[in-house]
């Protein structure tokens, strides 16, 4: 039987999703998020944990999981970094890349990505 405490813990750590999409060429760029702005971060008013990045390049799903804590008011973004023949797409906190990232994302594609994180509700 599930413990009531587990219900409380899960409820206090709700999962949130943040979506990014855009057409990329070969240049390293931030992937635009809501409003179409490509910049280094959308602020999040609660602390939390980045747990998943999933990206679709038009033909392939790329995904990665991790547990990376961030603080209240930190800014989250996705950065497409040219690594020679393709992109590595990295989740960033305040413009600094984290280890939550997907590799081998093709140049000249249209990307749609979801960043999943839990916020510290309490």
């Amino acid at each position: 039987m599930p413990k009531p405490t587990l219900g409380y813990a899960l409820a206090s750590q709700p999962l949130m999703t943040m979506h990014f999409s855009g057409a990329v060429t070969t240049s390293s760029v931030h992937l635009p998020t809501a409003g179409g702005v490509a910049a280094d971060g959308m602020p999040i008013p609660y602390g939390g944990t980045l747990i998943k990045l999933i990206l679709f390049d038009g033909s392939t799903i790329h995904a990665d999981t991790d547990t990376i804590a961030f603080s209240a008011n930190d800014r989250l973004s996705l950065y497409c970094q040219n690594v020679g023949s393709n992109f590595t797409v990295k989740a960033r906190i305040n413009g600094v890349s984290t280890t939550l990232q997907v590799t081998s994302v093709p140049f000249n594609s249209t990307l749609q990505a979801t960043l999943v994180f839990a916020i510290n509700r309490v």
């Binding site: 405490t5 409380y8 813990a9 944990t49 994180f117 839990a118």
Partner: protein, 274 residues
């Protein structure tokens, strides 16, 4: 002179005694400084704990380091039994299982990993749990252990009218000497008035002693049955009363079978009615 005595009857009652029993989380509402009866009496001195859930929000401890199978102390003691949740991270991407991956000492507020479980050695985990606020006897409440009653004190930290949770132990055995002494007198009286000519209250036949002992036991069990119904307001009161009554009938039958050679039949019936 009675045919039996208190130590003899007590020896027989050992087999019928109920072992010390722990009762937990009895909900009692304390208003003012009025005394409230617990479901049981005859409690073990200082065996009680009076408590409230500390908060509707669970406590969270981050980065609790678990080493080998050693218990690591948490910040709080007196945790709510079965409330601990342990996860690898705060987002609960990996949730561990109690007894398979970790063990919890709820009274002491401590956590240990289980060898062969999913928690790697020397790992930090996140722990959620619920805990109790514990109150102090004397300062916050007073208890009468023999009668099983509790009351708030005037300056108590327990909010007036609050429903608290009470733990306690019921004392081993229920042989109350005063009741035994009373039933010996009653049994002796009934037997003496039923004796055949040639036997008196001074007779020393073993059959009389044995019969008197069983009759006293029967009366004692009958008394205990009534006591269960009047003093034990717990859910087990009815079943306990029935068990005592069943014993009373059994001991009464044994008593009059053993006493048969010493008493006259019509007086037995009169005695049994009494």
């Amino acid at each position: 002179m009675p045919f039996t005595d208190l130590p003899t009857v007590r020896k027989h009652l050992v087999a019928a005694n109920i072992p010390e029993t722990r009762v937990e989380n009895v909900r009692i509402t304390l208003v003012g400084t009025y005394s409230v009866a617990l479901p049981h009496a005859n409690l073990v001195n200082n065996s009680e704990a009076v408590k409230l859930i500390a908060s509707d929000a669970s406590s969270l401890e981050t980065s609790v380091q678990l080493s080998n199978e050693d218990f690591t102390e948490l910040v709080h003691k007196s945790l709510v039994q079965g409330s601990a949740v342990v996860a690898a991270d705060r987002a609960l991407t990996t949730i561990f299982t109690e007894e398979l991956d970790y063990r919890t000492d709820y009274a002491s507020g401590a956590l240990a990993r289980v060898a062969g479980g999913s928690i790697p050695n020397l790992t930090s985990v996140h722990v959620w749990y619920d805990r109790y606020l514990m109150y102090d006897i004397g300062a916050d409440y007073v208890m009468d252990f023999p009668s099983g009653t509790i009351a708030r004190t005037a300056g108590s930290s327990i909010p007036d009218g609050a429903t608290v949770l009470v733990d306690y132990s019921i004392a081993q055995g229920t042989a109350e000497d005063s009741l035994i002494e009373l039933v010996i007198v009653e049994a002796t009286d009934v037997i003496v008035r039923s004796l055949r000519p040639g036997y008196t209250s001074s007779s020393t036949d073993q059959g009389l002693k044995t019969g008197a002992c069983y009759l006293a036991l029967a009366y004692y069990a009958r008394g205990m049955s009534a006591l269960m119904l009047t003093r034990n307001t717990g859910t087990d009161a009815h079943s306990r009363a029935k068990e005592w009554l069943s014993l009373a009938k059994e001991w009464n039958d044994i008593a009059w079978n053993v006493l048969a050679p010493f008493v006259t039949p019509h007086l037995i019936r009169a005695g049994a009615v009494e």
